[in-house]
């Protein structure tokens, strides 16, 4: 008995899941880094930092899975995209170095703390910006010839990619602010709530701008979004964004503590689905499909067995680690 079962599409889903898990998890902790200067030196900053200290390493591991998974399941896409966005990748990696070490280094020497707090912010900002610009660079298209990148080393630079870069920074900051509403109380929470309001508006404006600009990049995007009968499906995405946005602002006003974070996640999920509509089944738009880029079946099956068994286990103990450090970071002690 043979199953007709598209292994490559399954792997595309797994990688998409890893990337989304990364965006969600590292999104809020990069966001806290971006917002760090708005918190007062002392307890407020310490609370913000400590709300993510036990989990940041796990969050960042999803980035390694996204990259490593792409390498393993779609080696051609990994090779093309990383070469095409070379300076962005290097900037992101160096940004992550600075912010990653800041978690430990800031406690090691009182006089050096302002320095590592600055490294935390700048590193987070650079990493978020580089990721956003990379997204724009992929959407606008990458020049490919004979299965290799054929452009220059600054092809990624464009007004559109700058727009996606700034948008992702605002979006991550929103995730960070709404995470802090959940995890802190008192003055820190109050400040986070006000930030989340402004950032919520900013995120919606950014989503609208990117959505409006994308169909003009290429006719293919226009067709995907606006041709009948597909429009009946695709139109649900902006509709759901609108509903989520209304509930988000309502929950902020009502003083809810968890709902703003969950709705910010919903906004990200909808944005991510929108991205899927624009790209599928291409991994490098209009040049390389997931099937062109796919590793041979033996490689995909070998990893699928592992992923099917191990990913649920990872989710279970990651969930446990979050559960251990549940509750407010200020009042009930975290560490």
């Amino acid at each position: 008995m043979t199953y007709t079962f598209d292994l490559t599409a399954v792997w595309a889903l797994i990688i998409a899941f890893a990337v989304f898990a990364y965006i969600v998890m590292d999104g809020f902790d990069l966001g806290i880094g971006i917002l760090f200067p708005t918190f007062r030196v002392g307890e407020e900053r310490d609370h913000a930092m400590n709300s993510i200290a036990p989990v940041w390493d796990g969050n960042e591991t999803w980035l390694v899975l996204g990259g490593g998974g792409l390498f393993a399941a779609f080696p051609l896409a990994y090779a093309i995209i990383l070469t095409a966005t070379y300076p962005l990748m290097i900037a992101m990696l160096l940004g992550l170095v600075f912010r990653g070490v800041a978690f430990e280094f800031r406690w090691r020497h009182a006089r050096h703390r302002p320095l590592w707090d600055a490294a935390f912010t700048i590193g987070s900002l650079v990493a978020a910006l580089a990721q956003g610009i990379t997204l724009g660079a992929i959407l606008q298209g990458i020049q490919v010839q004979n299965d290799a990148y054929a452009g220059g080393w600054l092809d990624w630079l464009s007004p559109f990619s700058m727009l996606t870069g700034v948008s992702l920074v605002i979006g991550y900051a929103l995730l960070g602010a709404s995470w802090l509403i959940w995890k802190t109380d008192g003055e820190t929470q109050h400040r986070a709530r006000r930030l989340a309001f402004v950032l919520g508006i900013g995120t919606l404006v950014a989503m609208a701008a990117v959505s409006a600009a994308t169909p003009f990049l290429h006719y293919d995007y226009w067709r995907r979004w606006f041709a009948m009968p597909g429009v009946l499906v695709t139109a649900q995405v902006p509709l759901l964004v609108l509903i989520s946005a209304v509930v988000f602002f309502w929950s902020l006003r009502r003083g809810a503590e968890r709902l703003p974070f969950l709705l910010a996640l919903a906004l990200f999920l909808l944005g991510f689905i929108g991205l899927g509509i624009s790209m599928y089944p291409f991994v490098v738009p209009r040049a390389v499909t997931i099937w062109d880029a796919a590793a041979p079946e033996q490689s995909q099956i070998f990893m699928l067995v592992g992923a099917a068994i191990i990913v649920p286990v990872i989710l279970a103990y990651t969930g446990w680690a979050y559960w251990v450090f549940r509750g407010k970071v200020g009042a009930h002690g975290y560490h």
Binding site: I90, W107, F325
Partner: protein, 473 residues
């Protein structure tokens, strides 16, 4: 100004720089994680607060080291694609899954339990905390398993076929790929090296504090534990290294000949070249000091066994002999210095002078960084010795790199150099500061000021035992 530079050389320099810097941290954290596991186990089984103090002392050092290992490691998982895109496309179907398994089985395990290990003692209680420590230690070893497997496959590639796109794809089972011919030897050699590196650091810190106060109980305990490790494990490592060398001779003879400095074949048994200045251009080792027949004795376990020379191989397939020759001597020399320190510690222990023999302690302090140097020298030997290939005998390094212009790679290399030296330089400074401070009775937990500033008291009943009452609780 960068246009004259060769982008391949720059890409190699960048990979060599970032991977060498990175490996310093896991070389220490693999051993330290296991050491912490042993300390916590000893604390739980004996209830002696000394072990908990040592655990808390070393876990702060572990946290800083681990953080640097994580961030420098992420760089590597992306560098295959950024700088070695042709290699990635071609070898991805084999190497990629091995690295994906490393992420799935090791990185998540370490990261998931690290938070609990560092900050969760009062949250989860002793038993679960010990479990978390064990998972982190296990994660470091699983990580070593997969990454050494991937590296070994590049050294001794088997179990593959080449498809129509020119990609390496598995021929059938994955087992021959994972357990490729050089993998078991390299894994054992690498993990023992990490344990020895850690023992040397722990021993040096203990010795440093013994030189100031030879009665200090914590310093005594850590020095003694480290010296046992060194004395017992260094001989095993030398044996493992010998076996690894025989395996390399079988599969990568040119590498061994470069390590030995044997340009000319030795039909009646090869000498052991102790020192000399190899020159690839003239195919000769100048000013060499050699012992006849010993080379064959070591490599073939027979003094008269013939050995080939590099001149038996095409010239463009030679590695850079001076690098391989010297890095190998640095590694072996340090290995025997470690053996010497281990033997001296046994003599001192036998004469009951382990804690009051200042020259022994001084040597232990000087040898503190020796593990790092030996480990890097060893990797330089095996990686430079693999040249001119990325996948040995199959894919040339000169045909593996990304289509990037030299200025892009030169700029990123300069950025990595500046950032790594400043960031990891600062990290090393913090580590040395932590080590310079003596472990104390009721050693505090990892520093998280707000917890104490906010006056947190742990839930009663979760955390008991004779140690409760420290200032940190």
């Amino acid at each position: 100004m960068f246009d004259q530079l060769d982008p391949v050389i720059l890409a190699r320099a960048q990979f060599a720089f970032t991977v060498s810097f990175h490996f310093i941290f896991p070389a220490f954290s693999i051993g330290l994680a296991s050491f912490l596991m042993v300390l916590e186990a000893l604390w739980l089984s004996t209830n002696k607060s000394l072990y908990l103090d040592l655990f808390r002392y070393w876990i702060k050092i572990f946290a800083v080291t681990f953080g640097m290992g994580v961030v420098s490691g992420i760089v590597l998982s992306y560098q295959f694609g950024t700088n070695w895109s042709v290699f990635s496309t071609k070898a991805g179907p084999v190497i990629g899954p091995l690295m994906a398994y490393e992420v799935l089985t090791a990185f998540f395990l370490e990261a998931g339990f690290l938070g609990v290990m560092l900050f969760g003692m009062q949250k989860v209680g002793k038993g679960l905390h010990f479990f978390a420590t064990c998972m982190v230690a296990l994660g470091t070893l699983i990580s070593a398993f997969w990454i050494v497997s991937a590296n070994s496959w590049m050294q001794t590639p088997v179990g593959f076929v080449i498809n129509a796109k020119g990609q390496f794809v598995p021929a059938g089972s994955w087992l021959p790929i994972i357990f490729n011919p050089s993998f078991p030897y390299r894994l054992v050699h690498t993990v023992i090296a990490a344990y020895l590196t850690t023992a040397l650091v722990v021993g040096a810190v203990g010795a440093w504090h013994l030189l100031r106060d030879r009665a200090h109980p914590h310093a005594r305990k850590m020095f003694s534990m480290a010296m046992w490790m060194l004395a017992l494990v260094t001989p095993i490592q030398i044996l493992a290294g010998d076996q690894h060398g025989l395996n390399t001779l079988e599969h990568q003879p040119a590498k061994v000949l470069a390590m030995e400095g044997d340009y000319d074949p030795s039909p009646d048994g090869a000498p052991l070249v102790l020192f000399g200045l190899p020159s690839n251009r003239d195919a000769v080792v100048r000013y060499k000091i050699e012992v006849p027949k010993i080379g064959s004795l070591i490599l073939k376990h027979d003094p008269d066994a013939p050995l080939p020379g590099l001149t038996d191989f095409p010239r463009d397939k030679w590695p850079a002999v001076p690098i391989v020759f010297w890095s190998f001597r640095i590694m072996v020399g340090l290995g025997f210095a470690m053996l010497g320190l281990g033997i001296w510690s046994l003599v001192a222990r036998f004469r009951k002078r382990l804690y009051d023999w200042p020259w022994l302690h001084r040597l232990a302090v000087v040898m503190g960084p020796a593990g790092f140097v030996a480990v890097i020298a060893g990797w330089v030997t095996t990686e430079a010795g693999r040249q001119p290939y990325t996948v040995y005998g199959q894919l040339l390094t000169s045909q593996s790199h990304s289509p990037l212009a030299a200025p892009a790679v030169a700029t990123s290399l300069a950025a990595f150099a500046v950032v790594y030296f400043s960031v990891f330089g600062a990290g090393t400074f913090y580590l040395l500061r932590l080590m310079a401070r003596r472990p104390e009775q009721d050693e505090s937990e990892p520093p998280h000021v707000p917890q104490r500033a906010a006056g947190i008291t742990p839930a009663p009943g979760i955390y008991e035992g004779p140690i409760v009452g420290g200032a940190d609780l």
